[in-house]
């Protein structure tokens, strides 16, 4: 053992508090330190994940109080997988934006990297924590970082997007607190495992209302259809890497939270089919909205929302296969959508309106970026032999095995829609004439490196998915085993 899960939160926090001081010593440190922290956490998470896959989950108590009295962190195969994924993406995003922000001056750069690091930390905290109120705190950390990052650019629209995000975020936290308090009033505990072990004693009405409030609150962050008004704006107006971080990290954490509530904490079977309903709604509405977009990042945002709908559908099957599919989809979505956001934001870097038409003919100026965008587009619509195919296949297999043929057909129809709008953009990049007043900007070396890493991963997973499926299988088995989770946590003694 080289460390414990608490370091995932403690180290970034310490670093966050240190960064203002370090910035006074040497300005470059505010850029470097978050990267160092993330690298360390990457090593840590890989080590821990290896350990966990072999010898079972690590439950860490904080302040020495055994669950359910203290807060505990659970690094299991499931949460560990997600944490590793998030930190990896965080690292990529950091690498991408390392020089991206060079031209903005010291103070904004400091804030940017600080908020970015805390965004990742918050998301990681959501996944790791074993306490529902602690999860609320981490959601707020993620939220506030998100508001700040969304409004990072000084244009007027970024503030608008940020305000929408904040408004819905505030309502979300109100609903979340209500839900938490209903549960607390019935059980007198905030520990997830303890709640899960006692939930059958709760009056079903309270249970259902609490669950509804939880899903609504977390659904706002997880971009479920009627609750996701903030998402396209925030994605589109935030800096490109932040959009990638939203799609790859923050949403994942929120979806994790919903899943944790439905799979582990509550024992309401209707919740699974509810997940399918809202997932399908999200998928269909978002993809149909995406096809009519004229701004690139907005299109990507809707596409991302749609994908998360699909993830929820896959979780909603409630089978281990479904969970496997959903996790695989989450992984692929994280990698591919980040790549699309990162490359896409260079394609429309210097344009004012970030319109799709402004990517016309970009391949001549940004060959590698264009290629990576095309690769990502092909991968995300699920064309073999790229990464997205395998996850789509596993989703469909899971759907067929759950005898949800209607869902299966709808997912496939929506895939065609998705295909159309991605191909339109790729066609524009490669075969259209460049606009008159478009001024392409060459990506910096590290941005290129970050994108190439993601692109290579798409190919690797596409050609040899076995590199990752073993881990995902273990992770999904881990999520499905509710009693093991309860026992693992509650068996910790003082």
């Amino acid at each position: 053992m080289v460390g414990t899960p608490v370091l995932f939160v403690a180290i970034p926090l310490l670093a966050a508090f240190l960064i203002p001081l370090l910035g006074m010593i040497w300005k470059e440190l505010v850029r470097i330190v978050p990267g160092l922290v993330l690298m360390y956490l990457m090593v840590l998470s890989i080590n821990l994940l290896n350990h966990v896959l072999v010898s079972g989950p690590i439950v860490e108590v904080i302040a020495g109080w055994a669950p359910p009295f203290g807060i505990n962190l659970v690094f299991s195969a499931f949460s560990g997988f997600l944490v590793t994924l998030m930190i990896f993406l965080g690292l990529v995003v950091w690498l991408y934006s390392y020089r991206f922000k060079r031209n903005v001056g010291f103070e904004p750069a400091k804030k940017y990297f600080l908020l970015l690091m805390m965004l990742i930390t918050g998301a990681v905290g959501i996944v790791l924590t074993g306490d529902i109120f602690n999860m609320f705190v981490f959601i707020e950390i993620t939220g506030i970082s998100g508001y700040g990052l969304t409004a990072f650019y000084t244009g007027r629209d970024s503030a608008e997007a940020s305000f929408k995000y904040l408004m819905l975020g505030s309502i979300a936290s109100t609903l979340l607190l209500l839900a938490i308090m209903i549960l607390y009033s019935q059980l007198g505990t905030l520990n997830m495992a303890e709640i899960a072990s006692k939930i059958h004693t709760v009056n079903p009405t309270y249970k259902v209302i609490s669950l509804i409030l939880f899903i609504s609150a977390l659904g706002i962050e997880a971009e479920i259809f009627p609750l996701n008004g903030w998402a396209p704006d925030a994605y589109a107006e935030a800096p490109g890497p932040v959009g990638a971080a939203f799609a790859g990290i923050v949403v994942k954490a929120s979806v994790y939270a919903i899943i944790r509530y439905i799979f582990t904490i509550f024992d309401i079977s209707g919740a699974y089919s509810f997940l399918i309903i809202i997932g399908m709604m999200t998928l269909i509405i978002a993809e149909t909205a995406a096809i009519r977009q004229d701004k690139l990042k907005r299109m990507l945002a809707y596409s991302s929302i749609g994908q998360m709908g699909l993830v929820l559908v896959a979780f909603g099957f409630g089978t281990e296969e479904g969970v496997f599919a959903a996790l695989f989809l989450m992984l692929n979505h994280a990698i591919i959508k980040s790549l699309l956001f990162l490359s896409g934001s260079y394609l429309v870097y210097n344009s004012k309106d970030k319109k799709i038409v402004e990517v016309n003919g970009m391949h001549k100026f940004l060959p590698i970026t264009s290629f990576l965008f095309a690769l990502g587009a092909f991968a995300i619509v699920g064309l073999p032999p790229f990464a997205g195919f395998w996850s789509k296949l596993s989703v469909l297999t899971a759907a067929a095995d759950s005898h949800m043929l209607f869902v299966l057909a709808l997912v496939l129809i929506v895939s065609v829609i998705e295909l159309v709008y991605y191909l339109r953009v790729v066609n524009r990049i490669y075969f259209f004439k460049k606009g008159e007043n478009v001024d392409p900007k060459k990506p910096t070396f590290n941005a290129l490196l970050a994108m190439i890493v993601l692109g290579a991963l798409i190919l690797v997973i596409g050609f040899y998915p076995d590199v990752i499926t073993g881990v995902i299988h273990k992770a999904s088995a881990d999520l499905m085993d509710k009693t093991k989770y309860i026992n693992d946590v509650l068996s910790i003694k003082q």
Binding site: T4, V6, V9, A10, L13, L14, A16, F17, L18, I19, P20, L21, M24, E60, V61, I62, A63, G64, W65, P68, F69, G70, I71, E107, P108, K111, Y112, L114, L115, M118, G125, D131, F133, N134, V137, F138, E140, I141, I144, S145, Y147, G148, L149, A151, T154, A159, S162, L178, I182, Y184, S185, Q186, L187, G188, T189, L190, N191, T205, Y206, I209
Partner: protein, 233 residues
């Protein structure tokens, strides 16, 4: 029309929330063996802290508190990022009260008292109501008073930042020390002293003092940033 719909919707929402909470009941014990009994017992028996809320906030659920000060810290950062400075307007600041001599003199007199009160509140956080947050807020109010009364009163941004960072580092550092001492993160590693004594409760007062400084610095930073914003377009 929209108003009617909203009111109807809110009425429905209120109906469901109302029935839920009315049935939960007010003033009755809702659950049999929750964690609170353990907290109440441990606080006085082992931690030797009189204020259970403090022990919960700082020790049992100290992780939340760490997150919470981080939220404030991030709020300050985000605030600075949102209200970016435009180059030509540095240092102008609006003063809320018209600077009558009574107010300014009063503020000047009041300021040390307010600071003292704040310090007292967070130092005694583990004994009496109040603690790091409350003390920190009170100190921030003191600075607010000065900022509002004196046009050219200014707080060094640098020092605010240093205090804030140091306090944060102390908090996280104390947590890590507990970790390094063979225990867990935020675990108490100091003798807990005698109940109702100033020097009791192990690391709780230390953390709470750090929280106090941090909150004070952060809130002052918030006010300072907002105050320096001239909203005229």
């Amino acid at each position: 029309m929209k108003k009617v719909i909203v009111i109807l919707l809110l009425a429905a929402l209120g109906f469901y929330l109302g029935t839920t909470f009315f049935n939960i009941g007010f003033g009755d014990p809702h659950f049999a063996n929750g964690v609170k009994d353990f907290y109440l017992k441990e606080t006085v028996d082992n931690l030797h802290v009189s204020n259970t809320v403090t022990s919960i906030v700082v020790n049992f659920r100290g992780f939340d508190t760490l997150g919470e000060v981080t939220v404030l810290f991030l709020a300050v950062t985000a605030l600075g990022s949102i209200l970016y400075k435009r180059r030509h307007e540095v240092g102008t600041r609006s003063v809320l009260f018209s600077s009558s001599s009574v107010v300014t003199a009063g503020s000047k007199l009041l300021f040390p008292a307010v600071i003292l009160l704040g310090v007292y509140v967070f130092v005694h956080g583990h004994l009496s109501p109040g603690g790091g947050f409350q003390g920190g807020v009170i100190i921030a109010t003191g600075f607010l008073l000065m900022l509002l009364s004196y046009e050219n009163y200014s707080v060094s941004h640098k020092w605010l930042s240093i205090v804030e960072s140091l306090a944060g580092i102390v908090f996280a550092g104390v947590g890590l020390l507990g970790f390094i001492n063979g225990g867990t993160f935020l675990q108490n590693f100091l003798p807990t002293g005698v109940l109702n004594n100033l020097f009791s409760g192990g690391v709780i007062p230390i953390i709470y003092i750090a929280v106090g400084f941090k909150v004070a610095a952060e809130l002052t930073g918030v006010i300072y940033t907002v105050l320096h914003e001239k909203g005229v377009k």
